[in-house]
């Protein structure tokens, strides 16, 4: 099947006073049309920067894309200049962010910001206005008419995120990049927003790249998962396979430490150690220091191995890539 988005060996680095921080260091994955890929990992593993790199929105001048290819719609969009990217942003590829509080302009009305998403891509103002109303209704705002004239601070967090979704979907993008869309919201609202996104995705036949650290959301929404650690993909598999049978020690540790998986009365299982310093990745396997299965071989960096069924694991353990069943 033709992949909608194919990221090949992306490296996004940052120039800092401590040296070069290789936040994204050789990441590859793909997203199939209409399907959802989740990228999971803890804070600092590079998943947000990966998402930003696709639209070339990496914070400048410190950040830059060192190398890699990103195939979308038959071209390598990393070749596009920053200004040429504008044709894609908000049109073919849309993005929503984590903090609805600060992601909207506080001095412009909702209606203005929503219309802008359409007028910058060529729609007339009246057409944009009508469509804005439709969109607000579609994303579940109770009083869309009033909302058009309101300012962001007059809405709740959940409502603001719905507005962000409306803005992102205004031009019917083929791909939605969602960077932790529910992390900053109340637990009750989280479920609502996630189901709204899923609904809209099915309706529009849209593909989604979902960045999250919440395995619960992944299990409900994603078709494929890539697990990131220390700037690299350490495991990738279809969701069901990953949840049923995680192969990489890090992924196994993640699942084992879920409260649901632990027995009452026992200490919660945790992973020992901390993430290595991003300015100074270890030369061997980056997870080795914290790995219970650590061996001599781990002093050389493991490559990402692909199994016959399409699963990927970056580990020296022979059992990592065994074919089960």
């Amino acid at each position: 099947m033709e992949k909608l988005l194919q990221v090949d060996d992306l490296r996004t680095w940052f120039r800092t006073s401590r040296g070069i921080v290789k936040a994204v260091d050789g990441v590859s994955f793909d997203v199939a049309p209409g399907k959802t890929r989740a990228i999971v990992g803890e804070s600092g593993c590079g998943k947000s920067i990966t998402a930003l790199s696709i639209l070339q929105l990496v914070p400048e001048p410190a950040g830059y894309i060192e190398s890699g290819k990103i195939h979308f719609g038959g071209e390598d969009i990393l070749e596009r200049s920053w200004t040429d990217m504008r044709g894609l942003r908000g049109r073919e590829i849309a993005m929503i962010f984590q903090e609805p509080m600060t992601s909207l302009n506080p001095t412009r009305t909702i209606g203005w910001q929503l219309s802008e998403a359409m007028t910058v891509h060529g729609k007339d103002a009246p057409v944009a206005r009508t469509r804005a109303l439709e969109l607000l209704e579609r994303v579940g705002l109770r009083d869309p008419n009033a909302a058009l004239r309101q300012y962001p601070h007059e809405l709740s967090g959940g409502m603001r995120q719905r507005v962000m979704i409306a803005i992102a979907l205004a031009n019917r993008p083929k791909l939605l990049i969602a960077d932790e869309p529910t992390t900053a919201l109340d637990v009750t609202v989280q479920a609502q927003i996630m189901s709204l996104i899923k609904e809209l995705q099915d309706e529009l036949g849209m593909a989604m790249l979902l960045i999250t650290h919440d395995l619960g959301i992944v299990s409900e929404v994603a078709h494929d998962v890539s697990v990131m650690y220390a700037g690299q993909v350490v495991e990738a598999a279809p969701t069901r396979d990953l949840f049923h049978d995680p192969r990489h020690p890090y992924t196994q540790g993640l699942f084992a430490s879920l409260p649901a998986r632990n027995r009452r009365g026992q200490d919660l299982m945790t992973l020992d150690g901390i993430v290595p310093d991003a300015a100074n990745w270890p030369t061997g396997c980056r997870f080795a220091e914290r790995c219970v299965h650590k061996m001599d071989a781990c002093s050389t960096a493991p490559q990402l191995r692909v199994s016959a069924s399409g699963r990927q694991v970056r580990c020296h353990l022979p059992s990592a890539l065994e074919v089960t069943k």
Partner: protein, 337 residues
């Protein structure tokens, strides 16, 4: 307050200022925040240049503070006097000129003057150098009076709150409501012209700003967790203030003082123009600029007095501003890219 004591302090203030600055620098270097900041500063070329220039000024000021009693002239002579004083001419002369100007019968110059001479024939370069010490004295004295006072009152107001805060806030609100220059002029006029009075006048406006800032920062820190937990542990207020809050105030105080010092130097010049500044016999850049107004109206134009004084002031103020900015950027945890 014994006026003689104040005068002694005034004379020594450049030395005191430099001494305190060096002390703070050496102690701060050991802390992680400042150590990192200084390293960043050292890499910044404009900061290095600014620091070097300030250092030159400070050296001149210190050299002018070291003196001895010269039996021959019955006066005090300093290192600067010894090196740079020249025999006075009759009147004005242009830089490196051979003859005096501006009088009916020009006379031949007795010695070379790099920047010319002024109305009484004194060497302009020498006068400019003498002005360095005055600037440091006024600035230093003001800083020495104002900073402890602002810290004390600001900390009290911010930390203890309630009536203490109300009183102190009322005082600085009233003081800041009067237009700045007005307050300074009025103070000098009624207190009389004199070095100490000028420092008080300049100090008042500076005090208001600093006290307000210290109070704001104290309030901010008072609510922080580390203060609350210290209080819960039973640590006394005094210890909290001195060992916890005060060190956190130092960055803003030091940066504000550095940038404020340049304002002080500039303000002194303005006050001198208005006639309420340093007395004429004491060398000061403000006095030199004051004389310039008439000098520019003469024919041929006497421009070197103004240029020398302006260059000296601008050099010092510019270096302080650049250094202060660089210091603020280096200390500020939110690195601007």
């Amino acid at each position: 307050m014994n006026p003689n004591l104040l005068h002694q302090l005034y004379n020594l203030s450049p030395v005191a200022l430099v001494g305190i600055a060096i002390f703070i620098f050496l102690r701060a270097r050991q802390t992680p925040l400042w150590g990192e900041a200084f390293r960043r500063l050292a890499r910044n070329p404009s900061a290095r240049t600014a620091m070097a220039v300030i250092g030159i000024y400070a050296t001149i000021g210190l050299a002018d503070s070291v003196g001895w009693y010269d039996a021959a002239t019955q006066e005090r002579r300093t290192v600067i006097d010894a090196i740079f004083e020249r025999k006075p001419e009759r009147t004005y002369s242009a830089p490196l000129a051979e003859m005096t100007t501006g009088e009916a019968k020009p006379q031949k110059i007795r010695e070379k003057h790099i920047l010319g001479t002024d109305s009484i024939g004194a060497d302009v370069f020498y006068r400019t150098l003498k002005g360095v010490r005055t600037a440091f004295q006024i600035g230093g004295m003001t800083v020495l009076i104002v900073t402890p006072l602002a810290l004390l009152l600001g900390l009290t107001a911010g930390y203890y709150g309630k009536w203490r805060d109300d009183v102190i806030t009322y005082i600085y609100t009233v003081l800041s409501s009067v237009p700045g220059i007005l307050l300074q002029i009025a103070m000098v006029l009624v207190l009389g012209k004199g070095i100490i009075q000028i420092c008080l006048a300049l100090g008042i406006t500076r005090w208001v700003g600093l006290c307000r800032m210290v109070r704001g920062e104290t309030i901010k820190h008072r609510e922080r967790e580390y203060v609350r937990s210290a209080k819960a542990l039973g640590v006394t207020d005094m210890v909290i203030l001195v060992r916890h809050i005060l060190p956190n105030l130092l960055p803003v105080v030091i940066i504000s003082t550095t940038l404020g010092f340049s304002n002080l130097v500039l303000s002194e010049a303005i006050l001198s123009y208005l006639g309420v500044g340093v007395p004429d016999n004491v060398g000061s850049w403000g006095n030199m600029i004051d004389a310039a107004r008439d000098e520019l109206a003469r024919d041929p134009v006497i421009w070197w007095n103004l240029t020398a004084a302006t260059g000296a002031i601008t050099g010092l103020a510019l270096s302080l501003n650049l250094f202060g900015d660089a210091l603020r950027d280096a200390v500020d945890p939110r690195l601007r890219s």
